[in-house]
Symmetry: none
Subunit: 214 residues, 2 copies
DNA sequence: ATGTGCCTGGGAATTCTTCCCGATACACGT
DNA sequence: ACGTGTATCGGGAAGAATTCCCAGGCACAT
């Protein structure tokens, strides 16, 4: 085999990161060289450490893992990022892959699969955990865009933050755009989802799994 | 120190369980003697293995971790169960403790805190992770009614309708008052609950049980 | 009687939303 | 290379909602 694989772990829960670190490191060929707990930190650390693979939780507070993935790929086009999530819905998988993820793994997968996934991604190939592959196979192309996919990536992002309780101004600051833009996004989101009130917007976000159930 | 501590891990994600297992076992004094991925399995395995401590994720598919906790305690009143969750809201903590949990730990806690928590719970004491303790301390006793009581009856009613997705105008019509009045009520509700955004208002209503969970 | 708190709304200032518009950028098929 | 489509970003203006301050009517307790 080749040299050891270096990994950057991105998850907002410290205990979870530590668990993954140990899980990966006992495998023998993997070294976790860094950890990050947010999208911003993930981007910075990736640029500094240039790990072979980033293992990133898809649901981070504020800016999502997918957005973090995009930012990394913008500046490091050759980055190998393995997305990791509790969601196995085809919609999430597709968004992750569309955004350029090198692999997608669910937390329901067997532990050794995670090691295998990192190794596969590090070697330049793509990796999908079996359950995910099945979910995708069952809905070939565009099947899942019955309702949810009418939202664009940015709209997704804005909806997530709105559902988390952020104000338009906070979102604008976090995404680095004009509040007016966020407001305009919100309008189109509401129209696309048919959400007149904030409640309906939140329900939609819950349906899409953008935020954990309350 | 005393003998090794035996632990039953309960979480619906295999990878997560494996991570925790490694995290706990390298500490030296802890042995994970079993794993379960559902409430039913947790109960069965607890009865068979009689571990010193069960570490249980609060959010399990189907029957929740708290319900699993209750079932275990019904038949094994001396069971020591450490609840483990990504939520640090006081309401979750209180429910867990009311149900008889020996401790509550958030996933945001530092990794070694988990080891400490297991050891503390095994020794017969209770354990709360620092962030959780703080959340509870801020709302001492009967905390869950500290907030709602400041709302007047009318405000309560308006909040309920708002949370159900009604517009201000609809509410005004339903209550037979001027929309302006409803709007004014809403303002004071927001102020009293500290809700900046519509979403936060909704979450408050959920916390107060004004509407069924989404 | 008097104070207190709630429900009710008006008025004015402010902020947000909506709808329409154009600019830029990027991907895609021809 | 070129047009086409789409996403993102924002400006402008009209309209709607929110906030803050205020005040009358009412119930209720001291």
């Amino acid at each position: 085999m080749s040299a050891r694989v270096t990994v950057l772990l991105v998850d907002d829960h410290a205990v979870v990161r530590e668990g993954y670190r140990r899980l990966l490191e006992v495998s023998g060929g993997i070294t976790v060289v860094g950890e990050a707990c947010s999208a911003a930190e993930a981007y910075q650390m990736f640029c500094i450490l240039t790990p072979d693979v980033a293992v990133m939780d898809i649901s981070l507070p504020g800016v999502s893992g997918i957005e973090a993935l995009r930012r990394i790929l913008t500046h490091q086009p050759k980055a190998r990022v393995l997305m990791f999530s509790m969601y196995e819905d085809a919609i999430f998988v597709r968004r992750a892959l569309d955004a350029g993820a090198a692999g997608y793994l669910t937390k329901a997968a067997a532990p050794r699969v995670m090691v295998e996934a990192v190794a596969t991604v590090a070697s330049g190939r793509r990796f999908l955990s079996p359950d995910v592959a099945q979910a995708l196979a069952l809905r070939p192309v565009g099947a899942e865009r019955a309702t949810p996919d009418v939202l664009s990536a940015r709209e997704f992002e804005v909806l997530k933050l709105l559902a988390e309780g952020c104000s338009v101004n906070q979102i604008a600051q976090q995404l680095g755009v004009n509040p007016k833009t966020v407001s305009n996004h919100q309008s189109s989101i509401r129209q696309k989802l048919g959400a007149e009130t904030a409640t309906q917007l939140l329900r939609a976000a819950l349906r899409l799994g953008l935020i954990p159930p309350l």
